[in-house]
């Protein structure tokens, strides 16, 4: 074979293989990221699920709870007792400021007005510049269209390039296999109640039976966040801008915002502080959020560690997800029963 034919052969084989892989991934669409919907996505997409729940609500909620999976246990019922307002928990997995903006806009889009109250739980890790917009936000057109002007072409390219990823290919094959031989009796790991609160079915049953491996979960969090905080030096200006815009929009429409930094388990904090520049980044992020909250008359409290709200280290699912006793204590601090003047502003 001549070198020229060799080069052309390599180029052709590579292009054909990549075309086959990407076509398969696009058709199967295992994460529900693309417009094709021949098969059921294999991952839970809390954004779409939350939008569905929200659209099914019979009473317009007066308040929203926004945040990441760390805010999924904030109970609208408990908030209602304290504020006499109805709430919906619109926290989503890996929720970042771009999600908050999209959801607030979505509320207005749906009801023609803004909520009266919004609680926003911000993870320090979510303010990084390393991770692009979540593909699941991009895949949920009802939200993505409302965050669109703040998204960049790199998000679209990211989604496109994932068509060539091994992870997606293996998920596509798994999805096809599920389609041919549906798995029987698969245990449901978690589900959302109609007001948006998560129920960790599998994990809580393991906790009750004493078989839950908390250490393993903590190690997993440590690995994930060590990788993030090893590269993370400054809070992302792009993500602070999203948060800024969310607060501006709320203030301009008489919506009271309660902003808080979400909690991590003391042992995870200790490990991250030892191995990464977590504390430095946290300080910078808290400073930026405090300033922003002051500018927009929002209440801001740092719940980063359990001491800040007399939390219980035993009431965590893992290193980052608090259970109800802790979320209730945070709500108690955010919305004390005493007069408005005594709200803590830190």
């Amino acid at each position: 074979m001549s070198p020229k034919h060799f080069c052309l052969s390599v180029a052709s084989f590579v292009c054909i293989s990549l075309l086959c892989v990407s076509t398969l991934n696009w058709i199967v669409n295992p994460y529900g990221q693309y417009s094709s919907n021949c098969l059921q996505p294999i991952v839970q997409d809390s954004r779409s699920e939350k939008v569905e729940l929200f659209e099914r609500l019979e009473v317009v909620p007066q308040g929203l709870i926004l945040g990441s999976s760390r805010a999924l246990k904030f109970e609208p019922e408990y908030l209602e007792i304290r504020t006499s307002q109805t709430f919906f928990n619109f926290a989503v997995n890996h929720g970042r400021p771009e999600d908050f903006l999209a959801i607030v806009r979505y509320y207005r889009h749906r009801f023609g007005c803004f909520p009266k109250t919004v609680l926003i739980g911000v993870d320090i890790a979510s303010l990084n510049d390393i991770v692009p917009n979540d593909a699941r936000l991009c895949a949920e057109p009802r939200l993505y269209s409302l965050a669109r002007e703040t998204s960049s072409w790199s998000d679209d390219f990211e989604r496109f390039s994932q068509l060539f990823s091994y992870q997606q290919l293996s998920s596509s094959i798994k999805s096809l296999r599920n389609c041919v031989r549906p798995a029987q009796g698969t245990e449901i790991e978690q589900k959302f109640s109609p007001d948006g609160v998560i129920e960790y079915i599998k994990r809580q049953s393991e906790m009750q039976s004493g078989t839950y491996d908390f250490e393993l979960a903590l190690d997993f969090n440590e690995l994930e966040f060590t990788a993030i905080f090893n590269q993370f030096r400054e809070p992302s200006q792009r993500r602070l801008d999203y948060l800024h815009e969310t607060l501006r929009l709320c203030k301009a429409n008489d919506c009271q915002v309660y902003l808080f930094a979400t909690v991590s388990h003391p042992r995870l904090r200790e490990r991250l502080a030892r191995k990464t520049k977590f504390l430095e980044v946290e300080e910078k992020a808290l400073k930026a959020m405090t300033k922003m909250a002051l500018n927009f008359s929002a209440k801001f409290i740092d719940f980063g560690s359990v001491e800040k709200f007399a939390g219980d280290p035993d009431c965590f699912v893992d290193g980052i997800h608090p259970l109800e006793p802790n979320t209730r204590r945070m709500i108690d601090r955010l919305l004390p029963r005493t007069s408005e003047a005594s709200y803590a502003v830190q």
Partner: protein, 466 residues
Amino acid sequence: MLFNSYIFILLFLPIVLAAWWSLARWPQIRLGFLVASSYLFYGWWHWEFTLLLLASTLIDYYVGLGIHASQSKRAKGLWLSVSLISNLGMLGYFKYCGFFAQSINGLLDAFRFGTPLNVPEIILPVGISFYTFQTLTYSIDLYRGDVKPARSLMHFAAYVSMFPQLIAGPIVRYSDVETQMRELGTQPNWAEISSGIWFFVVGMSQKILIADTVAKLAGPLLAQPEQLQFFSGWAALIAYSMQLYFDFAGYSNMAIGLGLMMGFSFPQNFDSPYQATSIQSFWRRWHMTLSSFLRDYLYIPIGGNRYGKLLSYRNLLVVMLLGGFWHGAGWTFILWGLMHGCLLVGNGLYRDYINIPIPKIVGIAVTFFFVMMGWLLFRSVDLQMAKHWYAAIFGLQGIEADLGRSVLQSAGFLVAITTLFFCWSAPNSWNFQPRWSLGTAIALSALFVVCILRFDAESPFLYFQF
């Protein structure tokens, strides 16, 4: 931008290669395009640092003109000092400022004077150690009369910024590419492009399939050095030794492959270093372009081996110490350099005074052992980590109750051990001449596609930090 990223493989590379060969009839436009695309490649990470690259280029181009135009040795020397001060100053500021401030604070604190200096948090521009060395070689070679000045600023800018080798070498001297830049091919040389594809895919496989796989073992183990024990300590050390080699050699092969696809031939950077039978031989095989740089621009100018054995040993120590410091601003790198300096001196003493031949296999094993002892320092983020790791491999932190079964049976360790035997026995990719057949095309394409599928986990090259 990383070679192992979708943006590079799916967009940047096809566009640049197509445009490069389409513009063959217009050499100046072609070079201009290469410079622009290289700046885009570099600025993808932090566009501000392209200004630094531009400054280094402009300074050395005009210094080069100054040296060439000067008649006296003194005037040439003055021009050269401008280049040395600016390049080494830039490197010193971005790479070593924080380290010096920290070290002075540490020293003063030890004498209870507190820590009076602010330690600046300066972002290290990626590749600065490489391109400052390249521009330096140009000025020094001009001063010595070894090369002619670049034909135009565009030629010189293309040489400095050429994206295949910009970030982590090989360190290409202007004399290596001078003729190639003057006589750019107008027709694609398909044999060279085929070799380029071969090198590129081999390099990418080394990085993605080997280095990144063994990194999954080494990374988590080294995250908690105080918990390392005997088997985990050794597993981490072997895995890291493999990771570093395949990561860096992979990058070099990719760079060489990209160069060939564009009609440039870059110097070899690795020659199966783990097959070295002595430390001296190791340094002739590992990061060869750096070794030859240190030899030609440091070791020989400070005397080399011209003034007797004792001074040549001193020179070796100085060169390796500075070579270690070049790799990183930290005491572990200084110690690593010093250790290799001592090993080279020891090697010289053995050769000069004992010189009993040792079997090849023993030579390889002993050399590899000492190289690994050095990698331990090289990888440690501080002396505390090195202390824990050394203690672990010598059994001072205990031996795992399960005799390290969980670590030694992991996929990462099996890959590390398999590749280690491969490194000891297989021929170097430079000595391997593939047949351009359909079978080779299918095999290379399959490897390439597998690598592309693994791009989803971003993994920068280890040498980018230098």
